[in-house]
């Protein structure tokens, strides 16, 4: 059946759990493209035959064309949804991708990530006159100024806004300005203690 492989790609997207990235399925993409090529060539032959007088070929030409369109649509949907996922990663992890995620991207996707990174950084820097605004901060409405956090990994020294230096050791607890440690919480270095 036509477009079977392309549907497989879409299923793969659906199966992918939130916050993870499935590997770029280069084989399937190539197979879809090959199928498209075969369909196209077959169609070309039939079209010339049909023009020459065999008008019963028209319906199969139509069917193959529908298959071509479907393949194209599925393939683009696959790429687009992966881009959406990559964007989400940018907002979650910041400008450097974790190695395990980067491993699952193809080369062009990594390039696109870098481009997106640059675009976003340029945009954020251009907000207002004075140096811009980091939109990846303040993701949740602030409830309190300070939060109690527990360190999940050894992170080393951390300098607060007022110049004090803290050592973030595993399992130590601190009372920090929310705006300062939000990034670290999202990266999984600190954990917000809720009592």
């Amino acid at each position: 059946m036509f477009a079977e492989k392309a549907l497989e790609l879409i299923r793969e997207l659906k199966r992918c759990v939130d916050g993870t990235m499935s590997p770029y399925n280069e084989d399937a993409v190539r197979q879809v493209l090959d199928e498209m090529k075969a369909l196209f060539e077959h169609n070309q032959r039939d079209v010339s035959a049909a023009v020459a007088g065999e008008s019963e070929l028209y319906s199969s030409v139509h069917l193959r064309h529908a298959g071509l369109e479907r393949n194209k649509r599925c393939l683009l949907a696959y790429l687009y949804n992966r881009l959406e996922n990559i964007k989400k990663m940018r907002w979650e992890f910041g400008s450097v991708l974790p190695a395990d995620i980067k491993y699952n991207l193809c080369e062009q996707e990594v390039q696109w990530f870098n481009k997106y990174n640059k675009m976003l950084a340029n945009y954020m820097r251009s907000i207002g006159d004075a140096g811009g605004l980091d939109l990846t901060q303040d993701m949740k409405p602030p409830k309190t100024l300070y939060v109690e956090v527990r360190c999940l990994v050894d992170h080393g020294e951390f300098e607060t806004q007022d110049g004090n230096i803290l050592v973030l050791k595993k399992n130590s607890q601190h009372f920090l300005l929310r705006s300062e440690c939000e990034h670290l919480i999202r990266q999984g270095i600190l954990e917000h203690c809720v009592h």
Binding site: F40, L76, L83, K115, I127, L133, D138, L145
Partner: protein, 219 residues
């Protein structure tokens, strides 16, 4: 320090507004943007004015005595304002990314005298974003496709916001005669008068111009 938040005014739209009023406007714009399916006009003035306020407030905190308990209250206020600002711009950016082609098309259709949909920075971002996504499609898939399917037809692929979404709204000004439903074969046309203070759930499309003129706000 309290004087900054109350008296230092930013002048948007020629009239002088106090910072508190600017904040109120910004919050309204934020809520409207959050609940409307479509991208609304840009409020660059408000954003810039509020950013200046934040910087000014931060400078004042630097000058203030250490241990003054007012500091933490002001810090909290700054955090809240910054959240509203970032959230507002984030929502806009998300819409721009989702509906890039549609929004750029709208922007190009806009008449000279209408206020712009995108700020210059947002416009630049939208353009770059569109080029990069199309470039990506091209290099990975379209380029390898048979000759007749290599182009991307904007009419077919464009993602549009659903303007028929239902929204909650509160009426700020009396507005008469809003055409909710065109006349069809089965039913007559439906016209609604809105009274100040009313709250409704309605389709977004007929109300879009009234949201823009802030006769109604979304809640």
């Amino acid at each position: 320090m309290s004087s900054d938040t109350d008296e230092m005014g930013g002048d948007t739209e020629e009239e002088v507004m106090t910072a508190a009023e600017v904040l109120e406007k910004l919050e309204e714009a934020w809520l409207n943007e959050k609940f409307s399916p479509d991208l609304l006009e840009t409020k660059t003035d408000l954003v810039e004015c509020m950013l200046e306020q934040i910087t000014a407030m931060e400078e004042n905190i630097q000058r203030a005595k250490k241990g003054d308990f007012k500091i933490s209250i002001h810090r909290m206020e700054i955090d809240r304002i910054r959240y509203v600002l970032s959230s507002y711009l984030r929502i806009r950016l998300k819409k721009i990314e989702d509906f890039t082609a549609y929004i750029l098309h709208q922007e190009s259709q806009r008449k000279e005298e209408d206020s712009p949909l995108l700020s210059p920075e947002e416009y630049k971002f939208a353009k770059e974003y569109q080029t990069s996504v199309e470039g990506h499609f091209n290099s990975l898939a379209l380029r390898h496709m048979p000759a007749n399917s290599q182009t991307l037809d904007h009419k077919l692929t464009v993602i549009q916001p659903n303007l028929d979404n239902y929204i909650f709204l509160r009426v700020n000004e009396d507005t008469q005669g809003i055409l909710i439903e065109e006349e069809t074969l089965d039913t007559g046309e439906e016209i609604v008068d809105l009274e100040k203070g009313d709250q409704h759930i309605m389709r977004y499309r007929p109300l879009a111009p009234h949201v823009a003129s802030s006769a109604v706000s979304l809640i």
